[in-house]
Amino acid sequence: MSNRIVLITGTRKGIGEELAKYYLAKGDIVIGCSRSVPEWKTSAQENYKHFQADVNDEKSVKPIFSYIRRTHGRLDALINNAGIASMNHSILTPMQSAERVLGTNTLGTFLFCREAAKVMKNHKSGRIVNFATVATPLKLEGEAIYAASKAAIVSLTQILAREYADFGITVNAVGPTPIKTDLIRGVPLEKMERLLARQAIRRYGVYEDVFNVVDFFLREQSDFITGQVIYLGGV
């Protein structure tokens, strides 16, 4: 299926940027969003539309979906990539940081799933891919709020899969291992190596590992796959 309408959150940098470029290169129409405007460009830029929005701000998120409905009439896939991390001992984590992480990661994912389902249900089909993390099953110290915000995404994924099944929408999640992005910049090397040692396959993830799982969930043939979480690296 080409020329899919794909909405990706958090496209300014990191995995979101790479996902946007990847699906643009495949010939899809990509709608992206982030709090600030991305600096990257691709040769398929005419197929990319960007919205400046905070993912958990309902007032700035709803116009994205109105645009999709009015311009394209449908939404084939939502990739809920936007996320922030707070790596700190819980005793040293300010409430403001905790609220920010839960707001962006958990509530942002919920809001985009809800609004996407309203559009997708009109065509009785759609794919939603959420972003979990290996930090949840590995129970990583220093990532209590981040892991909890993503654990909530696992619950959302599993329950929304059931709520949206009658609308022909699948909801799944990918749980990446650390990838060398800004999200882990500042984490001591020793800590990263300890983390990698807990994976069955002990290496950093690469963007292609994530694309592979997202592609699988987006395939037309994956219409019987829902409520699943695939962790990378054998976690």
């Binding site: 309902e58 007032k59 709803k62 249900k121």
Partner: protein, 96 residues
Amino acid sequence: MDKILGLITKEIHGFNKTLDTPINLDKGKESVLFGRDSNLQSIDFVSLIASIEQAVSDEYGKELSLVDARAMSQKNSPFRTVGSLAEYINEILKED
């Protein structure tokens, strides 16, 4: 109000084509959507409310959410009849 009622009725007419037991609109504004006297399945109710929200948003060019906390906490649900829903939408549009 008539315009809003018209929008709701139009959406229900379209929606009725997908239902085994269509929503009975014979009682006009008093036609039941939600509650004990409704024969609408919960999944169909959800779908209908989302469709009406989109129709109103498109018609008035405004972003609105019909399922805000206020609607969920009202003692008499604004979703119970076609008329109560129209009044509720009218209130929301006035506020914006």
